[in-house]
């Protein structure tokens, strides 16, 4: 048994470590220092967080001066993994010839993956910065065109981000 080496915690520790008190004092000193460090809390309803352009919030439709960009191709609806988007197309006299008569996103299903935005050939559906999503009932969670259309001026950050990385 002469060349057996042991590595037992109680043998590794020095006397001062074993009586705990100096280490406890060190720990208390650490927490006391932390008390005077700057705080990380954000006072939420008053101080809001402004996300970067890369943030994937609620998906919205881009609205130009003469209406939505969307041509109702239905690709977003097709690619949506959560089956959250419903598009019904109709004809229009404008140059683009088609527009969505009905465009609904079920926000209770949406997983904010951004596939709809990625697949869109017209850059007509983009992820917004809106992260405050509260619904009083399940029906309210289904957003129609009137809630989805956002003026293009408010979506510049996201559009720039998309151009930069696509």
């Amino acid at each position: 048994m002469a060349n057996v080496t042991t590595n037992i915690e109680s043998e590794r520790m020095t006397f001062w470590e074993r009586i705990y008190l100096p280490e406890i004092a060190r720990g208390l000193g650490l927490t006391l220092r932390q008390m005077f460090r700057p705080k990380f809390t954000r006072q939420y309803p008053e101080e809001r967080w402004e996300p970067e352009g890369s943030y994937r919030g609620r998906p919205v439709l881009v609205q130009e001066e003469d209406g939505e960009r969307c041509v109702a191709c239905g690709l977003c609806s097709r690619v949506c993994p959560a089956l959250a988007i419903e598009v019904r197309a109709a004809e229009t006299d404008k140059e683009k010839e088609r527009y969505p008569e009905l465009f609904e996103i079920n926000m209770l299903r949406c997983i904010y993956c951004g596939f709809c935005e990625e697949v869109c050939p017209e850059e007509a559906i983009v992820m917004s910065k809106d992260y405050e999503l509260v619904f009083g009932s399940q029906d309210e969670g289904i957003l129609g065109k009137e809630k989805l259309l956002i003026p293009v001026s408010q979506l510049q950050d996201r559009l720039e981000f998309l151009r930069q990385w696509r």
Binding site: L21, G27, T31, Q34, R37, K39, F40, T41
Partner: protein
């Protein structure tokens, strides 16, 4: 005893109970605030300025909550347990020497309910021991395995630490030669505080007081990860509120006792006589008020230490708790008595 004496006692009781309730409410707030600061947060700040009315909102909420008693629980003991806890906590307040006596209208009046009680220290020790009944009964009567485990742990913990606590006090009693808390304070106010004579006893008392009040790192009776809520798992509404209140009341009582025994009680300046330094007459009202402030300040400082320790140290494991109690604190407190006795004999005091 005429009716004025009686009125004074009733008034003192009212003041003490209400002061204790308000102090407990603000200690809960202090606990949350200090916890937040240690974790680089702000803490409650919505109810009133700096969140000062948070505790009152919490108590109001507890009153409005449904009082759920489990169907399998023994409802009589279930209701009795919080009452025992809070009653015992309040009883200790009767003997804590909050202030020196001052003569008003020919009567010696002090804030203590039972001033100059010759066995005050024994009353405190007895009452803190009875306090375990509240916790043990709460755990047992709930008819819940987690509650029962919490109650059992509390009983075992109290028995192990009560001994060391009592033995650590003996050194102080030997120096003062009295169990009367006022005499113990008088003995300290002229010379050095007991913490300088009995530093080991002070540390032992601090550790055992943490264990007696079920505070972290000895909060095994309510260890959340293992026992859900421990002994108060099955309590709701104001019954839970009472158990919670008793914990904080006990914390303040322990702090006040520590201040009395080791930090000179109401003595303002260590090593020197307050009255001559401040130029005030001994026993005059301004001096007594200042000393009362000093006592409360010392107690609150120790409450801060309790909270600070809670948010710094992890919980002990059960075997570690027992090892610490029986193998370290008990021999250490016995050795402390022996050393104190030997030194006193050699110095011929």
């Amino acid at each position: 005893m005429d009716w004025i004496d009686f009125a004074i006692i009733v008034a003192k009781g009212g003041i003490l109970v209400n002061a204790m309730l308000i102090a407990a409410a603000y200690m809960v707030l202090a606990e949350r605030k200090i916890a937040a600061w240690i974790q680089n947060r702000i803490g409650p700040n919505r109810v009133g300025p700096w969140g000062l009315f948070q505790s009152f909102a919490d108590v109001f909420k507890l009153y409005l909550k449904e009082d759920v008693v489990p169907a399998a629980a023994d409802y009589r003991f279930h209701a009795l347990a919080p009452v025992i806890s809070i009653a015992v906590a309040i009883t200790v307040y009767a003997v804590i020497p909050w202030s020196d006596a001052v003569e008003i209208g020919g009567r010696m009046i002090s804030l203590t309910m039972a001033p100059d009680m010759n066995v005050a220290l024994l009353v405190i020790l007895a009452m803190t021991s009875v306090g375990v009944y509240g916790v043990a009964l709460a755990g047992w009567s709930s008819n819940n395995k987690y509650s029962l485990m919490g109650g059992l742990r509390s009983s075992a913990q109290m028995i192990s630490y009560e001994l060391s606590m009592g033995l650590s006090i003996i050194g102080v009693v030997m120096i003062a030669g009295s169990l009367n808390l006022v005499d113990i304070i008088r003995g300290q106010s002229a010379g050095a505080w007991n913490v300088f004579y009995q530093p080991i006893a002070f540390i032992i008392f601090l550790v055992t007081a943490l264990a007696e009040t079920n505070r972290a790192p000895f909060d095994l009776p309510e260890a959340e990860p293992e026992l859900v809520g421990g002994y108060h798992t099955e309590y709701s509404g104001m019954k839970f509120g009472l158990l919670y209140l008793a914990e904080y009341a006990n914390m303040l009582a322990s702090s006040a006792i520590m201040a009395t025994l080791f930090l000179g009680g109401w003595d303002i300046i260590p090593f020197l006589d307050d009255a001559t330094i401040l130029g005030l007459e001994p026993g005059s009202l301004p001096l007594v008020l200042l000393q009362h402030g000093a006592f409360v300040g010392k107690s609150l400082l120790l409450v801060f230490v309790f909270i600070w320790i809670r948010w710094s140290l992890p919980r002990f494991r059960y075997d570690q708790l027992m090892n610490l109690g029986w193998k370290i604190l008990l021999p250490l407190s016995l050795a402390n008595i022996a050393v104190t006795g030997t030194v006193m004999l050699l110095l011929n005091r």
